[in-house]
Symmetry: C2
Subunit: 451 residues, 2 copies
Amino acid sequence: MPTAIRVSVIGAGSAQFSLGLVKDLCLTASLAGSQVCFMDIDQERLEMIHKLAARYAGELGADLRFERTTDRAAALRDCDFVIHTAYVQGHHHARAMRDLTAKHGYYYGGIHLGDFYNIRLMLDVARDMERICPDAWLIMSGNPVFTGCTHLTRETSIKVCGLCHGHYGVYEIARTIGLEPQHITWQAPGLNHNIWLTHFISEGQDAYPLLDEWIATQGEEYWRSHVANRTHDIQLSRAAVHQYHMYGLFPIGDTVRRGGWWYHTDLATKKHWFGEPWGGPDTELARPLFVADLEKRIAEMTRLTNDPKASLVEAFGREKTTEQQVGIIDGLVNDNEGQFQVNVPNQGALEGIPGDVVVELPALVNRKGIQPLRVGTLPPKIMLEHVLPEWLQMERDLLSFKTGDRSMLLWHVLDSHQTRSYDQAVAVLDDLLAMEGNSEMAERYRFPEKW
Amino acid sequence: MPTAIRVSVIGAGSAQFSLGLVKDLCLTASLAGSQVCFMDIDQERLEMIHKLAARYAGELGADLRFERTTDRAAALRDCDFVIHTAYVQGHHHARAMRDLTAKHGYYYGGIHLGDFYNIRLMLDVARDMERICPDAWLIMSGNPVFTGCTHLTRETSIKVCGLCHGHYGVYEIARTIGLEPQHITWQAPGLNHNIWLTHFISEGQDAYPLLDEWIATQGEEYWRSHVANRTHDIQLSRAAVHQYHMYGLFPIGDTVRRGGWWYHTDLATKKHWFGEPWGGPDTELARPLFVADLEKRIAEMTRLTNDPKASLVEAFGREKTTEQQVGIIDGLVNDNEGQFQVNVPNQGALEGIPGDVVVELPALVNRKGIQPLRVGTLPPKIMLEHVLPEWLQMERDLLSFKTGDRSMLLWHVLDSHQTRSYDQAVAVLDDLLAMEGNSEMAERYRFPEKW
């Protein structure tokens, strides 16, 4: 007997995400009869998603109902699951901020100001859920997952589970070194965007020696000749292996993309560490491509929407995606148990991190809930040089979010390794807060009384 | 009835310290009959201290016995108290290291490599004490107090109490703003070199408003006109008040001297923040004066030693110093209770810091022991921007000390805000470890196996 649920997607205008979700729901018979409500503030995009979803489900003969609304409260009514995939201030605003910091001498951004707008939206959604659908799960698929999920689990009564794509990097490792991805098992706990491969097993055997052998015999050649086929193709980059050799565990996914400031000082340095042709996803070469690619996909969806004869099943396929949302829902409501990489409050699962901090780790998901595995420890060096400093940064982000203390933003700017003087920090912060699109932040953040 | 004890001074060649201790012992009748053993590896300095101490006590008619030895085990025999004031690698080595880093583009040092030699010596002393005088107190008067005391309390069974001078800064505040130092009470907990004035009370009233008024009405004039009378005269500097206005609590003593990297980028910046004529104690102008001053005092002591007719009481006075060592000893052995600023394992006294980390806070000292006051919390902003990051740095220092992992030294260099590239960090670390005087460290620290 299938179980019909109601799931709402906040920020459903993210076309690729919404259609992936629809696909997975269509292909999950045990959720037949369910309703999907798309919510976004972009009416036009919403229409498109709604049409494509209904057509795709129709082609497959799947029993799903679709709604669309720009009214968040209406979307949340009677919800069992809320998937948050919204991102306030888009790629173009981020680019404008990078352009502005460049005028102050920063290379590619280089400044972290917290995520005021996105954390505020997440909190607004969760507060609405407390009123309207207090028992629903909030599946957080928008960034910042780490800071946002920690804040919501502390400040609201809503059950939150954060999801990210970074952990799929382990399959890239497998493929690159010649292992069958479907034959590996692995474990990579930590914080979101800061996870480390504690276990890497292929056909029952430790596969780290195979990775070591690949690095020893093929690494140099790979770094010389490999040309990334997409901007995020850095899982086996020099930077990743450098971190692995420093820490003894391989960094996975977005972990690689970050590391220390020294991988990121300029384009030539980034190309050395992250490879040709773009130097990883975070450069002036890569980012426009990434954004253009997103826009190309939207254009393709628009074309499909306007061509009623096009086969959507042909366009989107009939295979499930590798996304975890629907699998988790199916586990929770139908007891179809699965193991997932989730971001949930620690409560002792990862040693050395406070209980109320959201960590990323494997969990069994079934009718009993989302139950993380107690993974024990990470090596102390990783804790002291990566995990705990990032925990403090998250706590500073949340404290400044809660207090609106502008001197904490200034401290963030000063904390950037690229900042060269106090006056530079003051000037760039002033200019950032005076930018179009940042006025609510400028209004909210004030210096302490005695400043 | 006085109680006779045996106290050994490790590193007794620090002439000023040893004679201050002798003075305080001479002027503490309840410790009459005690023995003081001076231990140092500098035979000549040892002779001088021993002679001056005996003469000074003789002039005062104090009942104390003095020994001297270059043999640490002999010094520790039957000890009740061991005062560690040794500092391996002196000011001249520190200067040579600064000169070398300057060649790599660093301003005034700018790199932290932990304190391998000093922590190793502290551990050696404590291990000897475990064998020879396991019940004695170790009073740690040498740096690094924070890292060293934490390490010893974790790794040995010796009771350790660390002492520092920084907290006297609160009396400089009182004097500068026109309060009677003897009429104030105060509290300034934290970590060593990282303490914050939570309470500042003059004649029973909160004195912070008086400090605010002084800053408002006289601060600018003071910063324009004040000329430091000694290199460490920075307690009311612009940097101190800037930190106060950022955090709401006044930073005390060496806390001021540190703050953020942005106070320390170059001499002109340091003069702005820490005042004329030297820009605080940590500049190329101030440090030679500080060292010259120490050497002048040694010369003066040598002169006194060679002039048997000189009155030492006239030269050194007959007032107790403001040092805490003898007062603490008197409290512990004679129940002459006092309140002191100590560095002891936290065990819940300061919230938000693990129990086995040594914190600096007020303690009552009497026959019951050294009992810290449970001071509660510091503001979260101070914890997240100062105290907890420094805790992590201490833990990294100890982990690298224990593992001998050279990549952690490299990480320290990279973590310096002055480091501009990975290659620069590698080069300066190589050169530092190849320096004369650093060979044991170079021997000890190795890169990880897969490096």
